[in-house]
């Protein structure tokens, strides 16, 4: 009981301290919004969020894509995954739903990737849709052949980090700065990096559903 009381008191103190700090923050936060918007024409995209993620602070995103691959490596190092047992071939109604749904999801993921340059969207949002599509396919027992292609899966998972790192190194060679895209070509570079990231993010989210590496039981 005393332990709970201690934890409660600590949490209360934390909440009080945080509220105190937040109340004393400036009313009109002196953020970097104006600066980010001012540089938008230089960035190669018109969506400020994408500009921050892939250009102004692209280096952070490079490391974050690394964190995703690290998480996947960690999960695969722990155990074998469990393949979903379902099979939709004997359930025609669900099967026909998936037949329509899966292509639509892949299409929507591609659309989100493309629209990310102008409006909310981008590789991570598209990747989430792609991951959802993969989970649906796994549940329906449709992705078994894909799961057996382990080398292909590994390559796809590593693609985002490899392409992003290669782009960084190439940019360094071309412009003398890490991840500074050549003038006027920012949009194309960002789209290329995002495409690779989309594939890796989608595969990561989908395959995490297995809870382990996709090796079959011997």
């Amino acid at each position: 009981m005393t332990r709970r009381a201690c934890i409660g008191l600590l949490s209360l103190g934390l909440a009080a301290g945080l509220s105190w700090a937040v109340m004393r923050l400036p009313d009109a936060p002196a953020g970097l919004t104006a600066a980010a918007l001012a540089q938008l024409p230089e960035s190669g995209v018109t969506n400020p969020v994408t500009a921050v993620l892939l250009n102004y602070r692209g280096y952070d995103t490079l490391l974050e894509v690394g964190v995703l691959l690290l998480a996947m490596t960690g999960v695969w190092s722990l155990r074998r995954g469990e393949w979903p047992a379902g099979d939709l071939r004997d359930r025609p109604l669900l099967m026909s739903l998936l037949r329509v749904l899966l292509p639509m999801l892949v299409l929507a993921a591609g659309y989100l990737l493309w629209i990310g340059a102008f409006a909310p969207g981008g590789a991570f949002q598209g990747g989430a849709l792609l991951g959802g599509a993969l989970v649906l396919a796994l549940l329906g027992g449709l992705a078994r052949r894909l799961l057996r292609q382990e080398p292909l899966l590994r390559a796809g998972l590593a693609l985002g980090v490899l392409a992003f790192a290669a782009a960084g190194a190439l940019a360094l060679g071309l412009t003398g700065r890490l991840l500074q895209y050549p003038r006027g070509h920012g949009g194309a570079w960002i789209m290329g990096i995002e495409l690779a990231t989309l594939i890796s993010v989608g595969l990561t989210l989908g395959l995490l559903y297995l809870g382990g590496r996709p090796e079959k039981d011997p």
Binding site: G17, L18, W20, A21, V22, R24, L25, P26, P29, A30, G31, L32, A34, A35, A36, A38, Q39, E42, N55, Y56, R57, G58, Y59, D60, L62, L63, E64, G66, V67, L69, L70, M72, T73, G74, W76, S77, L78, R79, R80, P151, R154, A155, L157, A158, V161, L162, A165, A166, G168, A169, L172, T175, G176, R177, L178, L179, Q180, R183, D217, P218
Partner: protein
């Protein structure tokens, strides 16, 4: 190769190698070796460059401080990079033989490889046996990408000049470390890894909360420019408290060290070495950056003394706990808790106006010494586990007969842990002691001496067993020579660094924060500082050409107008923008204490050369 390229190589090379090692299992060892060689070469070039030209900055993406991220290579960062490379290369050499040897890791619970038997699964699957058999190759296969990710995280951490980017690097570091602990498998290791994960995640979130508050108040996350923007006030006090709490938990500062001993003791030996030598040093490094650089204006002496007191408590508590541990790896893990305490003594000592730089160099010297010595000891413990199949200290009698090289390595590394001359542990402790003496803070002296005695006791406790002559010494499994020699090489490095104390102090003064460098004009009686021949003129410090903050008056919240990035003005130019220094110049007054620190380092070396009589 010059800075932006060397720095980019140090980050991109291990990252790409980690991704390749994941995509292409079976080639991890070759990839690790290639990248270790390339990184060593790049690091050598970078060290030479900053010694000659001072601090190097690089604007990633060409945007510059408030909007973009900057990389920075200064003395402290490069010093940490060198330590990381030293340990990284040793682990690269040691690990293949270690994982090939297929010995049970640490606990008897290990034998049923419970990696496959998660608690959710009640009955063991019928294929349990075949699963067990493939357990070992998997450890090697996944070790390499995880290890390379960890190395990436460390290099990114030590090169970053941006507190949000530091958070991303911390995440990479924390997840890599947790997964490497879990790699050992077995009930104990998985439990320790899970606890480590919770602490690490919670601590990261506290740090992130602090970063958010700092951004809300100062509208920047750039480390060098925060120094001029951070005005004391509730938001920043709370932010600094949150960040310090989170980082101290990650650094296992007493009393938040509870997660460290099980995690470090149950991991595979090379992983334990990485964790003790490097992973816990990452958060300490960020703390140094925050306390002495970004938020130095907010720090009160009482706060630094509070951190120092926790460090002192860690020294005493960790050493006493180490004395009573039954298992070697647990003893070494508690010793890590104690030794980290010494590094925290740096806070009260380096913040003081007198001989601050000596304490700064001494504390960091100690950090490097501990990294080498602890790696050597954990690798030795791995050899003992391999040879004897256990690490119960009681039953180590006569292990010297079986593993003479490992026993010698243990002895040498122990020398540095205790802080006996001529080791680097001695050089670090000597500089800390001199600083506390000069500042009249005698209580730290008492703690340092008591900690050294306790360290001698726990090191000797192992050595007496190891060197006991027994009638029929056990016939151990042969240990591959590379495992023994790597441990010995690091033990020799732990001692040898003591002779390089002068070079290290010189490196550490490149871009040393204002707080420790330029405040004291009357440091210790700087033994005729002129006596030491300056190999080169002091690094020329020029102002950062476009540091908008330094031109702003220290107004609390200026309507922020960042200067447009110079990509249009002079594209491609200024890729080597020297000397951030946060807008202060190196004055004659600043040079004096630096000389004093170097002088102290030399003095320590002379002492150690003279041995006990000195």
């Amino acid at each position: 190769m010059t800075f932006p390229r060397t720095g980019a190589l140090l980050i991109l090379m291990p990252l790409a190698a980690a991704a390749l090692a994941f995509a292409w299992p079976g080639h991890g060892r070759a990839l690790a070796r290639i990248s270790a060689a390339a990184m060593t070469a790049a690091l050598a070039a970078l060290t030479r460059e900053i010694m000659a030209h001072g601090v190097q900055m690089h604007r990633v993406g060409g945007w510059g401080a408030p909007l973009g991220i900057e990389l920075r290579a200064d003395g402290l960062g490069v010093f940490m990079l060198i330590i990381a490379a030293l340990i990284g290369v040793a682990v690269t050499l040691y690990s293949p033989s270690y994982f090939a040897s297929r010995q049970p890791e640490s606990a008897p619970a290990k034998h049923n490889d419970s990696r496959q038997n998660t608690p959710s699964r009640q009955a063991a699957p019928p294929t349990a046996k075949s699963r067990d058999e493939d357990g070992q190759p998997h450890r090697t296969r996944y070790f390499w990408p995880l290890f390379l990710f960890l190395w990436t995280a460390l290099n990114a951490l030590f090169l970053s000049a941006d507190i949000f980017n530091l958070y991303v690097a911390l995440e990479l570091l924390g997840f890599g470390a947790v997964t490497l602990v879990a790699l050992a498998g077995g009930h104990e290791a998985l439990t320790a890894a899970m606890r480590y994960l919770w602490v690490s995640l919670a601590a990261s979130l506290f740090y992130l909360l602090g970063v958010a508050l700092v951004y809300g108040r100062c509208a920047t996350v750039d480390l060098p420019s925060l120094a001029s923007k951070a005005q004391p006030g509730p938001a920043l006090w709370v932010a600094l408290a949150l960040m310090t709490g989170g980082l101290a938990a990650k650094a296992a500062l007493f009393p938040m060290h509870f997660w460290l001993p099980p995690a470090h003791a149950n991991a595979p030996a090379p992983v334990s070495a990485l964790l003790s030598a490097l992973v816990v040093k990452g958060p300490v490094y960020i703390l140094l950056r925050l306390w002495f650089e970004a938020f130095h204006g907010l720090i009160t002496p009482a706060a630094t003394h509070a951190l120092g007191a926790l460090g002192a408590a860690a020294i005493l508590w960790g050493s006493v706990r180490a004395l009573v541990q039954p298992r070697l790896k647990l003893l070494v893990a508690y010793s890590t808790v104690a030794q980290l305490g010494y590094v925290f003594l740096l806070f009260p000592l380096a913040a003081s106006p007198e001989s601050g730089l000596a304490a700064w160099s001494g504390g960091l010297m100690f950090l490097g010494a501990h990294a080498c010595a602890k790696t050597a000891i954990f690798l030795t413990a791995g050899n003992i586990l391999h040879a004897a199949g256990h690490d119960r200290i009681r039953d180590l009698d006569g292990i010297t007969h079986a593993l003479p090289i490992s026993a010698f390595a243990f002895g040498l590394a122990g020398l540095s842990l205790v802080g006996l001359p001529p080791s680097s542990g001695f050089a670090g402790k000597w500089m800390l002691l001199s600083a506390s003496l000069a500042q009249g803070q005698w209580w730290w002296i008492a703690v340092i001496l008591a900690g050294s005695l306790l360290a001698a006791a726990y090191v000797l406790r192992v050595l007496t067993h190891a060197f006991t002559r027994v009638p029929n010494p056990l016939t151990p499994k042969p240990v591959p020579p590379v495992m023994e020699w790597t441990a010995l090489a690091l033990a020799v490095a732990a001692v040898g660094l003591g002779f390089a104390a002068h070079g290290a102090a010189e490196l550490l003064q490149v871009g040393a924060p204002n707080a420790v460098a330029s405040r004291d004009n009357n440091g210790p009686p700087a033994k005729p500082a002129s006596a030491q021949p300056q190999p080169q003129t002091p690094p020329e410090i020029r102002r950062l050409d476009s540091c908008p903050e330094s031109t702003l008056p220290g107004a609390a919240r200026p309507p922020h107008e960042p200067s447009p990035p110079d990509r249009t003005a002079h594209p491609g130019a200024a890729q080597r923008t020297p000397g951030p220094k946060g807008g202060h110049e190196l004055s004659e007054a600043g040079v004096q204490p630096r000389r004093a620190a170097i002088c102290l380092a030399r003095q320590a070396r002379r002492r150690s050369a003279g041995g006990w009589s000195a």
